[in-house]
């Protein structure tokens, strides 16, 4: 989110902020190109601010069906490219596995008798099955957040119930499979090294994702600018709207 957009969001009324936050949740979980999504959000916030200024209700400007409005916007906005989608997936997996290990490390220090893991200074020793289990649990929790966001305009109680059901089933399946496949094999990790690797990989993936998104948005803008210039040259029109912009 850009600084301008953040500043504009602060100017919204409580009611409009709520409407936009729902839209943000819905569209944010639709794999849109990051840069184009920011632009889209900026347009909507601008629309809401102009409504406020004119003393009109943003609710009336959008129309009754927010979901349909957002859906129309989503289908007409560039989606994430394959590299962006892969990098998004990598980032989530990194967050889940990257943060779970330090959390389990702290847990094993605090509750020595309630964990199969042990630690020797910064060395964390844990059964592979145990690490896999909690990494998958973390992944399901994150995916759940994504699933709930996607269903913003659906009955939230039903969505939560479905999610909890899937979550419970997944834990049981992962619990059994992980121990069946990996038995009591253990894994030794130096927690500081792990954190450093996690940090470097996360930053690298985030930067790579942003650059990919910018690259795609830049190509789109270049194409648009070329088309606009061609039209201006052929029609000989003065394209400066500032002369008549209100």
């Amino acid at each position: 989110m850009t600084k301008d957009l953040k500043a504009s969001l602060k100017l919204l009324t409580k009611e409009n902020k709520k409407i936009i936050s729902h839209m943000e949740r819905y569209m944010g979980a639709r794999h849109l190109n990051e840069v184009c999504y920011d632009e889209l959000l900026s347009d909507i916030v601008g629309m809401a601010l102009e409504c406020q200024e004119r003393g009109e209700k943003f609710f009336d400007a959008v129309g009754m069906d927010y979901e349909l409005f957002c859906h129309e916007l989503v289908i007409n906005t560039p989606k994430q490219s394959m590299p962006e989608q892969i990098l998004s997936g990598v980032i989530w997996v990194l967050y889940c596995t990257g943060l779970v290990v330090p959390l389990l490390y702290v847990y094993s220090i605090l509750f020595v008798n309630f964990t199969p893991a042990t630690c020797n200074g910064f060395l964390f020793i844990a059964p592979i099955a145990y690490l896999i289990k909690y990494s998958v649990v973390a992944l399901i929790l994150v995916m759940g957040r994504y699933f709930i966001k996607r269903s913003t305009y659906k009955a939230q109680s039903v969505v939560l119930a479905v999610y909890l059901f899937i979550f419970m089933i997944s834990i049981i399946v992962v619990d059994n499979l992980a121990y069946t496949w990996f038995g009591k094999n253990t894994f030794e990790i130096h927690i500081v090294v792990w954190m450093l690797i996690f940090l470097v990989l996360s930053v690298f993936s985030q930067v790579a994702k942003r650059l990919t998104a910018l690259g795609i948005a830049y190509t789109k803008r270049k194409k648009e600018s070329k088309a606009a210039n061609m039209y201006t040259q052929m029609s000989g029109k003065n394209e400066d709207p500032h002369n008549d912009a209100s």
Partner: protein, 110 residues
């Protein structure tokens, strides 16, 4: 049962928006005001904004972000050459269609 006007409008609004943009570089709310002035009373920004995005995606119009007196930058739209061709094809189709509909509706009077 009343006729569902929204179904009829959906296809024609795109052409009308293009026509307005072809006259001058403009932005969403100004397009809405023009459309209302021409008699499209039941439309809102929520109706035209997705259409503008669609036209932009199809390369019929291009958007340029320029400072707005309120909030974030505002998108100003201009038509492209492809958009002009699309508009021309819409105008031809509309003239033929409206003539055909008028002829059919005139049947009862003959």
């Amino acid at each position: 049962m009343n006729f569902d006007l929204s179904q009829l409008m959906r296809g024609t609004l795109e052409g009308c928006i293009l026509k307005i943009i072809s006259c001058q570089t403009t932005y969403g709310y100004e397009i809405l005001k023009s459309l209302k002035l021409f008699g499209f009373q039941d439309i809102s920004e929520g109706t035209i904004y997705p259409l503008l995005l669609r036209l932009e995606k199809q390369d019929n119009i291009v958007a340029k972000l320029l400072p707005s007196p309120l909030g974030p930058k505002r998108k100003y739209y201009s038509i492209t050459n492809q958009g002009l061709e699309y508009l021309h094809s819409f105008e031809v189709s509309w003239v033929n269609l409206s003539r055909a509909v008028a002829d059919v509706l005139g049947l009862a009077g003959e």
